[in-house]
């Protein structure tokens, strides 16, 4: 069997259910693949792992992947299981925020570590400065969790539809007390979890062929997970080595994630790609990427996989 190592962007959770399902259900095995899934974490940059040779393929968000590409790390998107963006800004109503025009003067929590690009380009588009100058917002580097909102240290925080939002709800704040701004709705959606490999490797036919099988099996996993959220959550739970995840949480995450993967068969939609690039290029005075990327994606793999 051919060995493939997959580096995730974050810890083991239903966000990556498709891959775990494919592994558990033997879809990889059926494609003659021996897949190892490496969980990520708050300080693991998947690109570094990929470049260091620690993995063959990684899950990453397109903004950070394109930024890395500009920084001299030639990664290429080979598949895009997530069709829509799950990121949003969740605000407490009591702070008086009703729309983006109310942001100036407020404190907003943002994830950094490569996750800040969508936010920055959104603010760029709104023309709201983020560097602390007048008429702008105060940006906080938000930690792992939703505490800043609960402790009222920030008016809004970044959340994912499938995860942190529900933590806020679980913490006892009702949805009525919250107002959310989905990037998708604000027209600044960027592509999230996609599969990326190193450009050099793609020159190797054997590798390409391996990736075709990998993407194919992974998408099978995703589709199975979408249809069987309970079972998928159970599988994820089994692979979680920390033993900290709960069934309830993962089932809900799975059903939310399913909404994001729903529209995708794995192939990258080029117009989505172009929208993402445009949004990143437009980021005001400090755009995330400065020039149109070339060769940042290939449809070859999915084309072959999806016959």
């Amino acid at each position: 069997a051919d060995e493939v190592t997959l580096q995730l962007k974050w810890v083991t959770q239903a966000q990556f259910a498709g891959y775990y399902v494919a592994l558990e259900k033997g879809y990889y095995e059926a494609e003659d693949l021996d897949v190892t899934i490496k969980a990520g974490g708050p300080d693991i940059a998947p690109v570094q792992v990929l470049l260091g040779g620690g993995a063959d393929v990684m899950v990453d968000w397109m903004p950070s992947a394109l930024a890395a590409r500009e920084n001299g790390a030639p990664v290429v998107n080979i598949a895009q299981p997530f069709k829509s963006s799950g990121m949003m800004l969740t605000c407490l109503k009591e702070t008086g925020i009703e729309g983006p025009e109310d942001f100036p003067g407020k404190t907003l929590g943002v994830w950094f570590y490569g996750n800040e690009y969508p936010f920055l380009s959104w603010m760029g588009k709104l023309g709201i400065p983020t560097d602390g100058s007048d008429g702008g917002v105060t940006v906080l580097k938000q930690g792992f969790n939703v505490d800043p909102l609960l402790q009222k240290q920030a008016a809004c925080i970044s959340t994912m539809t499938y995860n942190e939002y529900w933590q806020v709800i679980d913490a006892g704040i009702s949805a009525d007390d919250l107002i959310t701004f989905k990037y998708e709705d604000q027209g600044v959606a960027t592509l999230e979890d996609g599969l990326y490999v190193l450009e050099d490797n793609l020159a190797d036919e054997a590798f390409k062929e391996k990736m075709v099988r990998f993407v194919k099996a992974s998408m099978e996993g995703w589709k199975y997970a979408e249809e069987n959220p309970e079972e998928a959550a159970e599988i994820v739970l089994e692979y979680d080595e920390t033993g900290a995840q709960t069934m309830e949480h993962q089932v809900r995450m799975m059903s939310e994630v399913a909404k994001l993967t729903a529209g995708s068969n794995g192939a990258l939609n080029v117009s989505d790609y172009e929208r993402t690039v445009a949004s990143l290029l437009a980021g005001g005075s400090d755009p995330v990427i400065t020039k149109e990327p070339e060769g940042a994606y290939t449809l070859e793999i999915t084309d072959a996989a999806l016959q």
Binding site: D43, I44, V49, G52, N145, D177, E241, A244
Partner: protein
């Protein structure tokens, strides 16, 4: 043994302060919730609520104890929900790293004491090495090792070793230099070789210093392991428990992992202390 009563007294005071603080710090949330629901807060509901929140700002002692109990005694030790299991993962990396750090530290100290160039050159850089924020380079070390095909226990142990070697170097250099001029002169009049002076004079005199720094070193090794467990894919170990606790805002889980880590550190220090007493007694230095 004469420590028990004072320790219990201080402990009682701490617990009392802790409860008071828990009520105070968690009350904001209770009031907010009441305001959202439009109800009044009485004193008794305040106390009851603040001490039983699911995501308290400061969990009450009994909540932490219950969680600890739950995750140690109630769970099978092979279960990944058992703190004993995660403690063991952390412990094994800690011990390996501590071993590497101690050996490396001693070797470096021997070099520093016997070689003038090393003495002058290495020490400032050893100090500088400890001012590097470990949390920043831990992920890089892990990634680099990963690319060399090394993962799992070893990267954690290396970071643990990085933190524990320094106290050992400092203590050991002090210890190997502890013999006074006269003790060294005595060896000279015997025309003893460097090796003989080392084995029969420097090493024995360094023992008390070594053990003191080993106690610091073993605690540092544990911190190193936990730091390494944070970014290394948050898989197993107390560090991963801390991380996932933080990630899901489960303060109670964080606190219980914290206490487990501190207890582990305390246990390790005690073990080194027992070893120290045994060795020093054997050498006739325990007076």
């Amino acid at each position: 043994m004469n420590k028990i009563i004072p320790v219990l007294t201080v402990l009682a005071v701490i617990v009392a302060v802790w409860y008071a603080a828990a009520i105070r710090m968690n009350s904001q949330w209770t009031y907010d919730q009441a305001a959202r629901a439009g109800t009044e807060v009485t004193l008794s509901t305040l106390v009851k609520d603040t001490l039983a929140q699911e995501r308290p700002k400061l969990p009450a002692p009994h909540q932490v104890v219950a969680e600890l109990w739950n995750t140690t005694v109630e769970k099978k030790i092979t279960s990944k929900r058992s703190l004993v299991y995660h403690g063991w993962i952390t412990l094994s990396a800690t011990l390996l790293g501590f071993g590497i750090g101690t050996l490396g530290g001693i070797a470096l100290a021997v070099g520093i004491v016997h070689n003038k160039a090393m003495d002058l050159g290495v020490m400032p850089w050893a100090i500088a090495s400890q001012t590097i924020p470990i949390l920043a380079i831990a992920p890089m070390i892990i990634v680099v090792l990963n690319s060399m095909g090394i993962s799992g226990l070893i990267p954690k142990a290396i970071i643990a070793a990085y933190l524990s070697f320094f106290p050992v170097v400092v203590g050991m250099v002090k210890g190997l230099r502890a013999p006074d001029q006269m003790q060294l002169d005595l060896m000279k009049t015997y025309n003893a070789s460097g090796a003989e002076t080392f084995w029969k004079l420097r090493l024995p005199s360094s023992m008390p210093y070594l053990f003191t720094s080993l106690k610091v070193g073993v605690a540092a090794a544990l911190v190193g392991t936990i730091v390494a467990e944070l970014p290394s894919g948050a898989t197993r170990g107390l560090g991963a428990r801390l991380l996932s606790g933080s990630y899901y805002g489960q303060t109670i889980q964080i606190w219980s992992a914290l206490f487990a880590a501190a207890a582990l550190a305390a246990a390790l220090v005690i073990v080194v202390g027992i070893l120290e007493r045994a060795v020093l007694k054997k050498m006739g230095m325990a007076q």
